[in-house]
Structures are given as C-alpha cells and as structure tokens.
C-alpha cells in the first residue's frame, strides 16, 4: 500500500474554533479578519497560558529563591529555549527577548552599529523595508556619518533588483539588512542567496522576519544570517514580546543596549561588569507573561505545521490575486503568484475608489482590511502611490472568506460608480 506522505490540508473549522476573536459579528456581519500582517488573532491556548501564569506562577525572574520565582524563571527561560529551537538557533544564548521587531532593530543599530560602523561606511537596505528597518539605521548614520544605500525594487511586481545588488554589495558595506517577506508587496525574498552573497564579502546580515516567522519554516542556520528578528504578536503570540537572534560571538562582542537590573554581574559606584549574553541585553524586568504566551504560540504553530501554513498562505494569495485580477481595471502589487514568491497578503488599488473608502466600506461589511502606506513610505513614493488597500491572510482564513471579500469589492465598485 502506498504511504500517504503529504499531510492533509488544514482542518479549518477546528482551527477557527481555537480563536475566540474570530467568532463574532462586526457591524452585523460575521467577521472576516484580513489584517493579519498588522497583527494576528490569538488562539485559546495562548490566552490560557498567559492567564495561567498570572493566576498560578506570577513572580519576578532571576532574582528570587522562592518557589514562584523559580517557576517564573523556568517558564521564561523555557520560552527562550523554545524560540531557539523554533528558528534553529544553536543555543538559547543567541536569543534576546525584546518588545518586538522594532526594538530588536534598534538594539542592533545601537549595540552593534555604534561599535562596527564608522564614517564613510555603507549600510545596505532595500527599498521595500518597513520603517522599523530604516529609521534606526538613519539614526545610526546620523551618529556615525555612515551612508544608507538601497537595493531597488523593480516595480509593481515587487522584486528586488538582484543585478543592482551585485553592484551595490561592495566592501564599503558593513551590514546588509533586509526583510524576508515584504509587508506591503507580499514578496518572499531569496534570503539564503542574499546572506550567502554578503558573507562572501564578510558583510554582516540582518533579516527582518516579522512577516515570515510563523508563516513558513525559518531556520537561521539554513538562512545563514548573523541577526534575525520577529514579533510575537504577528504569529499568534501576545503584543509586547519579540525576538532578536544574534550569532553568539557577535552578541558577546557587543556593548549593552540599555543599563539596569538583570543585565549586570557586578555594579560598583563608578562602573559595572556585564552579565553574560543574552541577559546583558535584557535590562529590567522583562515581559515574562509575554514570553510564556509566545512559547504557547510557537507550540500551537508547530502543531498546525509551518509547511502547511505556508502552503495555505500561498494558496489563499494565489486565489485572491487571480480573482482580483479577473475583476479587471485594478492595480495589483507583488510578484505573480505562479512564481511561488507571493506570500499571504495582497495590496491593491481600484483606480476609481480611494483605499480608505474601500476600507471603510469593507469594514461595514464586517471585513477588516488595512489601507495606507503600511509603514513603507519610501516604497510607496517609489511606486508613485499614496496608499494601497491590503488584505493579509493567515492559516485560519478560508477561500469562502475571500469570496465574501470579492463580492464586497464588487459591491463597493457599484456603490461608487453610481450616477450622482
């Protein structure tokens, strides 16, 4: 008998029952939540893990000898270990908890950047970066006199110009920082190749995995990056917790980011000695409940299966893209889905209806979309648009929801096309 190798498709009904917030009406209509790139909904398992921590184990970490403190510390450090395993890090020492992706980038820009970047150096970014992977580097450039250079995006199809990259990746470049998946275009970038090319020249790399971790397998060893970051809240975890991965030798060579409790081994009146990594970068009481919630989220995601989540994301994106294209007279962004490089979000523009009007009308139909610049203003300027409307999916979304979204788009068009 042939073995069944492929796991079956997702059991959407049972998955959806795990997410209390999905089961509600908005403006009288069943909620269709298509704003997952901004933040995902949370499964019961995560909400329960956080409640259980506060109800049973709440205490401060690392400083107490009593039982509750032991449990809190154990929970917090177990979460760190789980994160290391989730992204294939060699050791939990390479995992720094932050508030999110944004704080992780700021941490590298300060603690690594100030020591390694000087006047005349180049920091290479791409035109599709989120503001959080631009502004911290601008601040660093201002402090050091370094300059920022951007790998161009080819156009509405949202690809990085890899020919230009060959020219731009020079020995002046100290760091190449880029997103794994674009939150505006949906593009999945060839991160392995980008890291390999940088490494050949001894250039450090940072991968913004805010839109990829939890959406597809992400393994830092396979990717070959020096730093990587993501946010818990976009992948079923709570807000307020995020992760910075850094190769241990790099983290060890870095100065602290903030000073305070927990990050020291000895403090005298005039100077102090730092704690070992990763604690050196975690000043003050951390978000213990957040880490524990994130742990539960990672367990949940691996039960669903990241390969299957990716397949589902790609399927929904392709379905929505083709159906929207078939409407005609619509501007769609990001790679064509048959490339396999368009992750689970679609940015679009109707020439006759402004994105905000689309969002407001969709909202009244119970459909949560997002409109605006998506924190990628330079990219929007490059594409010559002020804003786009965006539908972003996750593994609990369904083709039926996309059908409802498409019907609503058609209705919105009729509504705005009416004779006045």
């Amino acid at each position: 008998m042939p073995q069944i190798l492929e796991k079956p498709a997702l059991e959407l009904e049972s998955i959806r029952r795990d997410f209390p917030a999905l089961n509600q009406r908005v403006h009288g209509q069943p909620l269709v939540y298509f704003d997952n790139a901004a933040t995902s909904q949370k499964p019961r398992a995560v909400i329960d893990a956080i409640s259980r921590y506060y109800e049973c184990d709440n205490s401060n970490v690392h400083r107490g000898i009593h039982e509750l403190s032991r449990r809190a510390t154990e929970g917090y450090e177990a979460a760190r270990k789980r994160v290391a395993q989730f992204i294939g890090a060699g050791s939990a020492h390479e995992i720094v908890f932050t508030r999110g992706t944004t704080e992780a980038v700021n941490l590298i820009a300060s603690a690594w950047g100030d020591a390694n970047v000087k006047s005349g150096d180049t920091i290479l970014l791409t035109e599709m970066e989120h503001h959080s992977n631009i502004v911290p580097w601008q601040l660093l450039a201002k402090r050091t006199g370094a300059k920022l250079v951007y790998v161009p995006v080819t156009g509405d199809d949202g690809m990085l110009d890899l020919d230009a990259l060959d020219r731009l990746l020079t020995r002046e470049v100290k760091l190449f920082a880029f997103t794994h998946v674009s939150n505006t275009l949906g593009t999945i970038n060839p991160v392995r190749r980008l890291c390999a090319q940088a490494r050949e020249l001894g250039i450090a790399t940072f991968v913004d995995a805010a839109q990829s971790a939890g959406h597809m397998p992400v393994d830092v060893g396979e990717i070959g990056c020096d730093f990587l970051a993501f946010s818990g809240h976009k992948i079923c975890g709570p807000t307020g917790i995020g992760v910075l991965f850094g190769r241990q030798e790099l983290l060890e060579a870095m100065e602290p980011y903030q000073g305070g409790g927990d990050m020291i081994s000895r403090v005298d009146f005039q100077e102090s000695r730092w704690n070992v990594v990763p604690h050196k970068f975690e000043a003050g009481t951390p978000d213990i409940a957040g880490a524990i919630g994130l742990h539960a989220a990672l367990d949940y995601l691996d039960r669903v299966g990241r390969e299957r989540i990716l397949a589902h994301d790609l399927d929904l994106a392709a379905y929505a893209y083709e159906k929207l294209a078939a409407l005609g007279n619509i501007r769609l962004f990001g790679p064509r889905p048959e490339t396999g490089l368009h992750s689970g979000l679609i940015s679009f523009l109707l020439p006759e209806v402004h994105a905000h009007d689309v969002i407001t009308l969709a909202d009244r139909h119970g459909i949560a979309l997002r409109g605006g610049h998506h924190c990628t203003q330079p990219l929007m300027r490059k594409l010559g648009v002020a804003s786009t409307a965006r539908a972003s999916f996750y593994f609990y979304n369904t083709r039926e929801e996309i059908d409802r979204f498409l019907e609503t788009i058609a209705e919105i068009r009729t509504f705005f096309a009416r004779q006045v």
């Binding site: 209806v353 905000h356 610049h373 705005f416 006045v420």
Partner: protein
C-alpha cells in the same frame, strides 16, 4: 444605512469633480497638510484682497473621497467671504463634526452639513477636517508664504 449617509451623492460628486482644484502661483499662502496615518495630502492656496476678503482659494492634493470633497466644498464656501467670517465658518464646520454633542448646523454651511455623516465613522473625521486645519493656518496669516503641517496621530485620551 450609515454608508449612504456618509457617501452622499453631493460628496461623491465633489470627490469626482473637485472644484477650484489646481495650483495658484499668485496665492499669498500655500498651506500643506498631511495625515501621516493614511497618506492624505492637501495643499490649500489662499489669496486675500486689500479689504481682507478671501479673494481666491483653491487646493491641490491627493486623498480619499471625504478629504477631497471636504476641501472642494470648503473652497466654494469661503470664497469672497471676509476673513473673520471664514474663520467662523471653519469653527462651525469643525464643531459640527467633532463637538461632543452634535450642534444644530450653522445654516451658512449649506451642503457642507452633509459631511456630518462622518460622526459615525470616528476614524474618518480627520479626512474631513484636514483642509479646514490648513484653512485655519492661512486665516492666521502666517509670516511664511509656505507652511507644512502634519496631523497628530491618535492623541492620548483626555
């Protein structure tokens, strides 16, 4: 339902065919406002007469239908009004949209009253008031010919 109330025919008409839309090289003031939350942009061009009337007013920019129609109606409404009266109308219009309890509309506002539908869409109020915030700055006759401002993102609750 609310949507018809928000997107009335008059509003759609103004957003499709904005009045007094275009550059105005001889304006006394060019006030550029943007709403960083959503990317709406309006530049209001205003010229005053010797008798302190709003002699000419026009706008350029890019925004949603609420933003564009509000700017378009604004220009029609305040053209040739004394500066002080334009300020009164601006106050009356903004109160109509943002006062905690909805006031009786000032009769002089005319079709602009239709925009009070945004009261049911709190996230859209800033779209309707952007051009008026630019107007308020022009009416104060700033020293510079060109002014840029950005709307505040959601302020902390009072």
């Amino acid at each position: 339902m609310d949507l018809e109330e928000l997107y009335q025919d008059v509003i759609l008409d103004h957003s499709r065919r904005p009045r007094n839309f275009g550059e105005m090289p001889d304006a006394d003031f060019h006030i550029h406002g943007d709403n960083p939350m959503c990317g709406d942009e309006v530049t209001l061009h205003v010229k005053f007469s010797a008798a302190d009337l709003v002699e000419k007013v026009g706008f350029t920019g890019n925004g949603c239908s609420i933003c564009m129609s509000s700017a378009s109606m604004l220009t029609q409404k305040i053209k040739r009004r004394p500066r002080a009266e334009a300020a009164e109308l601006s106050r009356a219009f903004q109160d109509l949209l943002t006062a905690p309890s909805e006031p009786e509309p000032d009769k002089r506002l005319g079709d602009l009253t239709l925009l009070r539908g945004v009261r049911k869409f709190p996230q859209r109020v800033k779209c309707a008031t952007l051009a008026w915030h630019a107007l308020d700055q022009a009416l104060a006759k700033p020293t510079a010919k060109e002014t840029n401002f950005s709307e505040e993102t959601d302020p902390p609750a009072p």
